[in-house]
């Protein structure tokens, strides 16, 4: 009898909470939004990043005359801070994120800046070039997901290419003319963040609730943590990757 009573209470609570969460998520109010912040670190010796031989294109060589280019698969700062890790809520069921900052993927000195560009589904981003050499921007998603590969050239001074992706996917992007140029479009649903040079990140616009935060690193894989965010509060999730 008592058990049944408890169960009923629990059930109604869950239902209420669920309805509340739904309501909240449908009307995201600035006051109710929380955030998730943390740091991503590498526990161990940073893997060696090979230098890049750009001799195929003299322009690229010149651009890196004083600052030799290296691969950017695992970029580690002081204290093991991991850059370019994408954090997102993998069990997100809320609405799409409002377009805030303009997303720009720059081809600069024959490298991609940033190396990893995270974005929401259907969020617009721009591909621009700052170089005096022709690039081709060639993302290679799996068409099975609904994202369609395309391939466009950007000669010097070319106008920006504005695009978006339809489906959640980690999409490699490359320049065939400069085969070392390799970057990522990480398309997720919901709020996301990318770690900075200190390994710090903040996912904004998170309504109160319990979430699974996933950290993605291109070489080291993914990790997930459960995080609870109170109304207007901040959840915290720190991740530590081991070198492979």
């Amino acid at each position: 009898m008592r058990n049944r009573y408890n169960f009923a209470v629990a059930l109604s609570t869950v239902v209420l909470l669920g309805c509340g969460a739904l309501l909240l998520s449908q009307n995201v109010s600035a006051a109710g939004e929380g955030k998730i912040a943390g740091t991503v670190k590498l526990d161990g010796t940073a893997p060696h990043m090979r230098g890049i031989d750009m001799s195929k294109d003299p322009y690229c060589v010149k651009a890196h005359a004083t600052d030799p280019a290296h691969m950017e698969n695992v970029v580690v700062g002081s204290g093991g801070a991991l850059e370019n890790v994408v954090l997102y809520i993998s069990d997100w069921s809320g609405p799409a994120q409002p377009e805030t900052a303009e997303l720009v993927f720059d081809q600069k000195n024959c490298m991609y800046t940033p190396h990893v560009l995270a974005m929401d589904v259907n969020q617009k981003f721009k591909v621009v070039t700052s170089d005096q050499t022709t690039h081709n921007i060639h993302p290679n998603p799996n068409p099975m997901t609904g994202n369609i590969p395309w391939n466009q050239s950007q000669p010097p001074g070319a106008a920006p290419v504005e695009k978006s992706w339809k489906a959640v996917e980690v999409i490699p992007v490359q320049c065939n003319i400069h085969p070392w140029m390799h970057g990522w479009f990480v398309v997720v649903k919901g709020p996301y963040a990318t770690t900075d040079a200190s390994g710090n990140y903040t996912i904004n616009n998170v309504p109160p609730g319990s979430y699974t935060v996933t950290a993605w690193q291109e070489d080291l894989g993914t990790q997930a943590q459960k995080v609870t965010v109170a109304a207007g509060g901040a959840g915290s999730a720190n991740f530590t990757f081991k070198p492979k």
């Binding site: 195929k56 294109d57 003299p58 322009y59 997102y88 993998s90 069990d91 005096q132 050499t133 022709t134 081709n136 921007i137 060639h138 290679n140 998603p141 799996n142 068409p143 099975m144 997901t145 609904g146 369609i148 590969p149 395309w150 391939n151 466009q152 050239s153 950007q154 000669p155 010097p156 001074g157 070319a158 106008a159 290419v161 489906a167 959640v168 996917e169 980690v170 999409i171 490699p172 065939n176 003319i177 400069h178 085969p179 398309v187 997720v188 649903k189 699974t212 996933t214 993605w216 291109e218 070489d219 080291l220 894989g221 993914t222 997930a224 492979k244």
Partner: protein
């Protein structure tokens, strides 16, 4: 390296998966495919039906393209040299020869033309002996392999202005376009497929691929008319390193470039004669890149 984030249980395993390069991407089962057996194609006044193409597909195509249309037929592994491209994976719905912009589906006519024309320097023959109906049925069959056709419409074919008269000025202007957008990075300054990046090219599935050598005397993959060549660089060859230049070459300049490209080709042409008269030198790969057309 293609990972769908929606399935996050998969993601935990993806650290392992990421260690492997992307292999064949076929993921659809026979059941998935059969749901689309009603696919149709419309080529001219002929309507093709996928259901009528099962037999011809088995007769002509399956040895290379495979029963699931994923390009894994019994012969797929035996096309070894980089010049031989592996058979197309129809499930991906990504096609080289289109009249539509990069990233869009080709029209039924594009697929029909590809079947009719075949692909030079590959093992895809010309199927122009088949009846029009049979080819249209096969187009529908090709479409039924990819879910893309159920969710998307083909792109709008690019507009090709009428071909202007070939003049020496146009050929010179074409050479400037060739230099500006740096076609030579892959195709070489003389169109001999020996540009600095030529040896490193791979297709979307990570397989080595060679740029087109204009001087060999063979036909371009997507057809040999001036319009066909125009289309190639204005739509890009999806699935290959060849990008679309639609944003960076104006329609009029595109014709100039077509004429200039003709001067590389072994086949005799008016363009070749004119270029000879001009004494045109190949573009200088070390010259600073010319200004973009938008800034001229």
């Amino acid at each position: 390296m293609r990972t769908t984030l929606q399935n996050w249980t998969l993601l935990f395993g993806s650290a392992v998966l990421l260690a492997f390069p992307a292999a064949a991407s076929a993921q659809l089962s026979t059941y998935d495919i059969e749901t689309r057996i009603g696919a149709e194609s419309h080529v001219g006044n002929v309507t093709g039906h996928a259901k009528d193409a099962a037999l011809p597909y088995r007769r002509y195509c399956v040895g290379c393209h495979g029963p699931l249309g994923d390009g894994n037929g019994e012969n797929a592994d035996w096309f070894l040299t980089p010049m031989y491209q592996k058979p197309r994976d129809f499930q991906l719905g990504v096609f080289k020869c289109r009249s539509t912009p990069t990233g869009t589906l080709p029209t039924d006519q594009d697929l029909f033309d590809a079947i009719t024309r075949g692909f030079d320097r590959s093992n895809m023959p010309q199927w122009n002996t088949l009846s029009k109906q049979e080819r249209a049925d096969l187009v529908a069959w090709v479409k039924h392999y990819s879910p893309r056709w159920a969710n998307e419409k083909p792109g709008a074919p690019i507009q090709i202005p009428p071909e202007p008269e070939v003049t020496a000025e146009r050929i010179k202007a074409g050479r400037d376009v060739f230099a500006r957008v740096q076609c030579w990075k892959c195709h070489g300054v003389q169109g001999m497929a020996n540009g600095p990046s030529a040896s490193t090219l791979t297709d979307d599935l990570g397989r080595p691929i060679a740029p087109f050598n204009f001087t060999e005397g063979s036909r371009p993959k997507c057809g040999d008319t001036d319009q066909d060549i125009y289309r190639i660089f204005m739509t890009g060859l999806d699935g290959t390193p060849m990008p679309s230049f639609a944003d960076n070459i104006k329609p009029d300049e595109a014709w100039d470039l077509v004429f200039y490209l003709r001067t590389f080709m072994r086949q005799h042409s008016k363009e070749k004669d004119l270029a000879k008269g001009l004494g045109l030198k190949p573009v200088d790969p070390n010259a600073p890149a010319p200004a973009a057309s938008g800034q001229q």
